[in-house]
């Protein structure tokens, strides 16, 4: 077992490193096939007021006069040693730009994940145990509704009701507690739907097992059955779902931060897209891939330790982790 686990861990680690490096190359290729040569667009933008000599200097400093493969090699070796390059617009190190906005985004994303977990547990519990006429069936349909609403509409709805009508927060003060809270709710709701779907499917499965029937026959109360017996085995796959959702949260901050007027990684992406600041985009996408790879690596590594039933056969354990993979009867 010990040896098999180490073997599995080493394989997973190697795979994660390979994926991150390949993602960097992929992003670089996508970004450098840009048709309009944004580099010169940015540099020759009269608003920036660079002289020809300065442009030549920047081009030389960034290595933009070299062929693409050389640029890629240069950029990739910088990335591996932790150098994320320099912004085309502001000429500041990209790592500084990201470090400035990261805390705000981490607060938002952390809050969103917390909201998503609490909501998903509530929905799954209610859908399992509430009688139909008290909304059990309606709760079951809730994730589907959540996944049909554009996330910016959820944000605008919350701003309209709680900001404008009830006056709980001002849009001009996006860092106040309530503004952050509702931004986290807006970001968390679509995530909660996906967690709830997997949790509900697994709860249904666990509740149909013999041990659950025995517990019920012994006269165990529903809440005890849920928290003592069903929740633990049902939430194991949720570990993997949450790991997958982290990437989603990062991508969706782009919209949520724009709607709520927050500064953060999302608004940095938005600014860099509009100004075609490619080094910043390249860095953020690659970092998102690193975060995604690390979190999924951790999830895959702790999973066999959490669930003794999982047998390692050299590949990642098989679980239901997305709605697409749900057994058909449940879907």
């Amino acid at each position: 077992m010990q040896g098999a686990y180490m073997n599995y861990a080493a394989k997973r680690l190697l795979q994660a490193v390979v994926v991150v490096l390949l993602t960097y190359v992929f992003t670089f290729i996508v970004v450098s096939i840009l048709p309009g040569d944004p580099v010169t667009n940015v540099l020759r933008d009269p608003q920036n007021g660079f002289t020809e000599a300065e442009i030549a200097q920047i081009v030389a400093a960034q290595g933009l006069d070299k062929p693409i493969p050389v640029q890629l090699w240069h950029s990739l070796s910088g990335f591996v040693t932790g150098d994320l390059g320099v912004s085309l617009r502001s000429s500041r190190p990209v790592s500084d730009l990201i470090a400035e906005v990261l805390p705000s985004t981490l607060r938002l994303a952390g809050g969103a994940l917390a909201v998503a977990l609490v909501l998903a547990m509530g929905i799954a519990y209610g859908a399992r145990f509430l009688p139909h006429r008290f909304g059990g069936a309606a709760l079951r349909a809730l994730p589907s509704l959540f996944l049909s609403v554009p996330s910016f509409v959820i944000g605008l709805l919350l701003i309209h009701i709680f900001g404008f009508q009830l006056g709980l927060f001002m849009v001009i003060d996006p860092n106040s507690f309530w503004a952050t809270f509702f931004a986290a709710v807006a970001l968390g709701i679509p995530i909660s739907a996906q967690i709830a779907e997997v949790l509900m499917a697994n709860l249904d499965h666990e509740a149909s097992q013999d041990y659950a029937a025995v517990a019920r026959a012994r006269g165990l109360r529903q809440s005890k059955l849920f928290f003592r017996h069903l929740l633990k085995p049902s939430s194991l796959p949720v570990v993997t779902v949450i790991a997958l959702m982290v990437g989603e949260v990062l991508g969706n901050t782009l919209i949520t931060e724009t709607v709520f007027g927050r500064t953060g990684v999302g608004s940095l992406i938005q600014r860099s897209v509009v100004t075609q600041d490619l080094p910043v985009l390249q860095a953020i996408v690659s970092l998102a891939a690193v975060v995604f790879a690390v979190i999924n690596l951790i999830a895959d590594l702790i999973y066999p330790l959490l669930d003794p039933r999982v047998k390692l056969v050299g590949t990642a354990p098989r679980r239901v982790t997305t709605a697409d993979e749900l057994p058909r009867a449940n879907a």
Binding site: V20, S148, P150, H160, G247, L254, T258, D324
Partner: protein, 274 residues
């Protein structure tokens, strides 16, 4: 004691009520995109300034915007672009992802290894972020947003297709077909593809709805066609600056949500009945 059991007579529906309603919604949406002029007499681009920012009424079901344009007319005329771009996205995802999944599942070996890494890369970049960098690379327009959305969904189709192909390829009837002299091409087109497509179809319908959302998100951020286009996401984005007149946000949002909900419902139904 006698218990009489009476059964309420029921008309047998060809599908659950929710599915029928969803299909009706889709029919209306298709109508709006093919012949918008049949559904509204108002011009989507030119308004009557004196009638600006009116609430929903019998004359203007969705109210009017800041230029006095009928919002329902704008929504109806924006349907074609919102829906057809989602179709483009799904077709791209279906064809590219299906091909990748088919090749890696059917051929296996080093082809499978290489394609699996490509899919890993596509999965490692957050979905929306992937769409954003691709649309940045291609340039801002609704068509490019559709292409970007399609590419960002390739990985999901590739995965499902691959697992379906592997499942079918190892089935006994496929083995029998091979042993009785069926060529690889025959097995691929007659057995593997039809079987795999059964689970890919519901996925395509589901992704159709999600593509509408992603494209609306890109339009909301300003990465689609600029006004006077009236894509649903763009209408909501314009409406957000007029939150005092909330129908400017809620009316196009409602149309989007009802459409996506209907597609999700149909997808679930297809999955159950196949």
């Amino acid at each position: 004691m006698m218990i009489s059991v009476t059964r309420t007579p029921r008309v047998a529906l060809p599908a659950p009520l929710g599915v029928i309603l969803s299909l009706l919604v889709l029919a209306v949406i298709v109508g709006w995109s093919l012949a918008p002029g049949l559904f509204t007499g108002f011009d989507p681009a030119i308004g009557i300034p004196a009638d600006k920012l009116q609430g929903p009424s019998a004359a203007h079901w969705f109210g009017t915007d800041h230029l006095g344009r009928d919002l329902l007319a704008r929504v109806i005329h924006g349907t074609a672009s919102s829906v057809s771009s989602a179709v483009i996205a799904v077709v791209i995802a279906l064809v590219l992802g299906g091909l990748i999944g088919l090749l890696s599942g059917f051929l296996g070996g080093w082809v499978d290894t290489i394609l699996a890494r490509l899919v890993d890369v596509l999965l490692a970049i957050p979905n929306f972020l992937l769409a954003v960098i691709i649309v940045t690379a291609l340039g801002f327009s609704t068509t490019n947003a559709a292409i970007a959305t399609g590419i960002s969904a390739v990985a999901v189709f590739a995965r499902v297709m691959r697992s379906e192909v592997i499942k079918t390829r190892s089935a006994t009837f496929v083995e029998a077909s091979f042993l009785s002299g069926g060529s690889r091409w025959h097995i691929l087109t007659r057995h593997v593809l039809p079987n795999a497509s059964r689970s890919v179809l519901p996925l395509a319908v589901l992704r159709f709805g999600q593509s509408i959302l992603v494209i609306a998100g890109l339009a909301f951020l300003g990465y689609g066609d600029p006004p006077p286009a009236s894509d649903w996401g763009l209408l909501i984005s314009i409406g957000k600056d007029y939150l005092k007149w909330p129908w400017l946000v809620y009316a196009p949002a409602l149309v989007t949500v009802v459409t996506v909900l209907s597609l999700n419902r149909i997808s679930r139904w297809l999955r159950k009945t196949d």
